[in-house]
């Protein structure tokens, strides 16, 4: 029986006075990898932020593991088992790389150990003592992803994680996501890098102007290439 880990209905979100999301509906089943596609500014990041509670006002319904989260403050949403890796990385300058890694509190058992993380990202081990923002752009990106793997969150929201990474690392990330999926994690990916996301995702949503305009499954990918071409220029 598949369980709906995340179910969003009629989500509206605002930044100050600007209305960004106009009724997003989206469902993610447990153990799935779902990818949000769309042009720049389509509202994918906003969707992610709205789930966690980082936008201004929001309306509609967000159910995480059956529990309504639309009114919850971010820290309570996180405690429902959500791990968020933001687009702008959010590495803390006043903390060392290792402190950055250790920062998010463990919210559930079953997260990765520090040893496993360093094995996956050897750069981080090497730079563990440096202040977080002194890491190179790519290192910061790795750190941002690594950070939430420790917490035991079961639903991972990953925003543009392959951005600015060398091809070798991107390949590693792809492997990582496969591993996570195998371990039963649920992942929502926002990606520009279609080649990276395409083979990983079970299902795809396409966004445009703050709305979901299309959804399809992995096996329908080939049928939809023409549409994607039109929407994303892939």
């Amino acid at each position: 029986m598949t369980k709906e880990l995340l179910k969003i209905e009629g989500l509206n979100a605002w930044y100050g006075e600007s209305h960004i999301l106009h009724g997003v509906d989206l469902t993610v089943n447990e153990g799935e990898v779902v990818c949000l596609l769309g042009r720049n500014g389509a509202g994918r990041t906003t969707t992610m932020r709205a789930i966690v509670g980082l936008t201004g006002a929001r309306k509609g319904s967000i159910r995480i593991d059956g529990q309504e989260a639309i009114k919850l403050p971010p820290h309570k949403v996180a405690r429902l088992g959500v791990g968020y890796c933001p687009e702008e990385r959010g590495i803390f300058a006043s903390l060392s790389a290792e402190e950055n890694l250790m920062l998010p509190p463990v919210i559930a058992p079953g997260g990765m150990s520090v040893g496993e993380i360093y094995e996956m990202f050897p750069n981080l081990k090497e730079r563990a003592g440096s202040p977080g923002t002194r890491l190179s752009g790519g290192e910061q990106q790795m750190l941002a992803v690594a950070r939430i793997l420790r917490t035991g969150a079961r639903l991972l929201l990953l925003d543009e994680i392959s951005e600015g990474l060398a091809p070798v690392i991107v390949q590693k990330l792809a492997e990582m996501i496969r591993t996570l999926k195998a371990k039963g994690y649920t992942v929502v990916l926002v990606e520009q890098n279609f080649r990276f996301a395409a083979p990983l995702a079970d299902r795809f949503y396409v966004m445009e102007h703050g709305r979901i305009v299309k959804q399809f499954e992995q096996r329908e990918l080939a049928d939809n290439m023409a549409m994607l071409q039109e929407f994303l220029g892939v």
Partner: protein, 294 residues
């Protein structure tokens, strides 16, 4: 033996007194640094909270007969709660805005607090006696040091070290430091940031109040005692490097000493010396002695 024409004894005596003042600077600038570091707010109300702390101790003694030792715990608690209220009602609305607004708001608050106490208690101030246990003085050989002043130095060092440890060496401290940079994100990781920020401001206020209680037996408790001191403490914080906990403590103590020395050699300059030091430090190290280079 003499140093620059000053007898060694007098010189040492002055050093010790400088240290006592330094202890106050350290405690006050510590609170400022904590609040600035974590909330990005230059707490202009710090001097007023210090004053309220001293008044709280005096009122406790005068009206309720609560002695110094209880006041030393109760007054900071009370002012801490006041701090929490201030954070909840006012500062909360300013997060994410230019830090200058925090400065202006707390400036306004300090005027209000000062005005209220002025209206209630006048300006000539109240006298708070030295606690019995610490009455008298110890002969250090080179000077007679009132026991109470020795206690102040000790108490302040303990408080400062404790705070430093808490912030730089514990997990809570890491949340606090990260929270200053991007509170939203830390919250999105599952940390109850609003609570943390509220308590931090409360703690900063409590630190100021504790300094106030400690000062009460030494100086006259007046509504203006805070505003006289606060500007100097600001300078201390800038010299130490804003937001640097260790910096503010060390600088506080050292500036106390420097000021003490100036009082011996060129007393007229003793209130400007802190600012002169500040200018020199800033020319050499724009981020302050312990500040991180931007």
């Amino acid at each position: 033996m003499e140093i620059f024409g000053i007898p060694l004894q007098a010189f040492l005596g002055q050093l010790v007194l400088g240290l006592v003042n330094g202890a106050f600077y350290a405690m006050l600038s510590l609170g400022l640094a904590v609040i600035f570091g974590l909330l990005d707010i230059v707490n202009f109300a710090h001097g007023a909270l210090y004053m309220v702390g001293a008044f709280a101790a005096w009122i406790m003694l005068d009206k309720f007969g609560i002695n110094f030792w209880f006041a030393l715990v109760l007054a900071p608690l009370l002012v801490g709660v006041l701090g929490v209220v201030i954070e909840r009602t006012f500062l909360k609305r300013l997060y994410g805005l230019d830090p200058l607004y925090g400065l202006l708001l707390t400036f306004g608050l300090s005027l209000i607090l000062e005005g209220i106490f002025r209206d209630q208690y006048g300006v000539s101030g109240q006298s708070y006696p030295v606690p019995e246990l610490l009455e008298g003085a110890t002969n250090l050989g080179f000077m007679i040091l009132p026991n109470y002043r020795a206690f102040v130095v000790l108490a302040s060092l303990v408080v400062c070290l404790g705070t430093w440890f808490l912030i730089e060496r514990t997990r809570l401290g890491a949340y606090l430091r990260a929270g200053t940079e991007n509170a939203k994100l830390v919250q999105a990781f599952g940390v109850n940031v609003p609570l943390m920020v509220m308590l931090t401001y409360g703690a900063g206020a409590a630190l100021a109040a504790m300094a106030g209680v400690l000062a009460a037996p030494i100086i006259q408790v007046t509504p203006l005692m805070g505003s006289n001191l606060i500007i100097v403490v600001f300078a201390v914080v800038v010299i130490g490097g804003m937001g640097s906990i260790l910096g503010s403590v060390v600088t506080g103590l050292v500036l106390g000493l420097i000021e003490g020395m100036t009082r011996v050699f060129y007393p007229e300059a003793s209130s400007v010396v802190v600012f002169v030091v500040m200018v020199i430090v800033l020319i050499i190290r724009p981020a302050g002695l312990f500040g991180k280079e931007a």
